[in-house]
Subunit: 208 residues, 3 copies
């Protein structure tokens, strides 16, 4: 059985708050996919930049963990949580880069369901920031579980409507391939936000 | 090093038996995809219902774990095993829902290889029920490893035949996209059954 | 907190060196995909053979772990590392088998970007062998992190060029589907090599 008594190490929580803010910056940036005339290359570059910023946060956290004898919660869980936050940003970067490589929206707006995906992701990013600030301050996280559940249900419903739309016969097969892949990656980003929340929940349950 | 002596907690095993039964209900239900005239929407709804039932089992297990000082095996392994069982049902629900959203089999039967996939999944579900009952009773699980291996080999062979069939030129590209995705998800469900068995094996090896 | 003092068990490292050599054999074999006239069936069979060889190594390692009270590093990490090495070979086998099932290169060479993917994978295999020998000998692994990073960046760049090439309009949708899936699996093999390196790094950090 593990030791339950652990002195607080508030500065370790700070890394997670910073990573959560990076997910919010990424969802904020990628929302421009839905804005006509956004240069695809610049958007992709911006997401790559946020990805690198977050790699640094993860790296600093790992170094800090490495030099700390006592951590506020299980060390493996901290590695896992950092990796889950990183996953969100990886998926968002991938979506922006695919949109650029496929020239998917040059001259055309994304399908309306994809614009709704971007909105749900933005809400997920905002929720993550509040939730990690509350996590760091050891405040109640009930609103985080409820909010995640609602957004995940919305994301699933919209994703399914996107699939029906794509296969309705109005696009040729190559276009379906391109749009579906971008939509899939956006759906994975929403799933990744849910995995972050599940990882936090598992930690809170264990440590309570 | 961990404590090896642990009092039995038979009621915790019961959650896993119930989850295994849910996987069997799901494979039983989705077998109807191969039956001409099955309403796709009703089938998808049925799988969503089983998914929710299993979410409740997982939730109850987590609460139980949370309030138990001593668990029959490593706590993290119990979380992982519950998640692996959940994965099976998620994939089966996804396959049924895609068939509905794509109207993939309205008026047409699935390719014969896909019907065989459904049969293998049904056998996997039945094997899981027996295996988890034996696991709970601490009976020998050799038949589980052997059965899993056989079914996994069958599933792989059938999946490969499905791919060859789909790309043989008899379908247009959009139809290939739809059918392949459903076949992929069914193959992932078979893989997920294998992961369940691997997770049980890892636990048994550690605790022996 | 865990015990830090552990007697060395050099023979356990040997299994990892053997698995790393298997990944190198697999990348060496699959490089023939780029050689005109290679029989696709024979290549797929060769990869399946290497996959089985490695399953045996993994199996022997698990048995050894099972019968060892003390391990050179955390037991769960050793399971995880063996699984990550296995993933590399699974992806390479999948790519060879898909090329065979789709008759993707009968009479035609792969796109040039796919040949470059095969070259990067070969370099990854060679790097893994050196790195695991150094790991077993407790030598410095800095060159492993640097080399992995460089190869991963190359792999990403090439993969993106492949996607642009595939969607440039020169292939019909069914061909894009086939080639993209093979390219995707090769990219997953490169990612899997990176995951191996990350897993080693996490172990080294923890144990240092």
């Amino acid at each position: 059985m593990r030791l339950r008594l652990r002195p607080k190490q508030p500065e370790l929580f700070e890394y997670f708050v910073r990573a959560a803010r990076n997910t919010a910056s990424a969802t904020e940036a990628i929302a421009d996919l839905g804005v006509p005339g956004t240069p695809a290359k610049a958007l992709s570059d911006r997401l790559v930049e946020i990805e690198h910023q977050n790699d640094e946060v993860t790296h600093e956290l790992y170094n800090k963990l490495n030099s700390s004898f006592i951590t506020p919660f299980d060390r493996d869980d901290m590695y896992r949580l950092a990796a889950r936050l990183d996953d969100v940003i990886d998926h968002l970067e991938a979506a922006a880069t695919l949109a650029h490589l496929y020239a998917a929206f040059d001259g055309e707006r994304p399908p309306p369901q994809m614009c709704e995906q971007l909105e749900v992701l933005r809400a997920f990013g905002e929720l993550a920031v509040t939730a990690f600030e509350d996590f760091a301050a050891k405040r109640d996280l009930k609103h985080y579980w409820i909010g995640t559940n609602e957004l995940e249900n919305q994301a699933d419903r919209i994703y399914r409507q996107l699939l029906t739309h794509l296969f309705s016969g109005r696009y040729d097969a190559l276009t379906v391939l391109k749009l579906k892949e971008i939509g899939d990656v956006l759906e994975e980003a929403a799933d990744a936000f849910e995995h972050v929340a599940n990882t936090v929940e598992a930690i809170v349950v264990k440590e309570s």
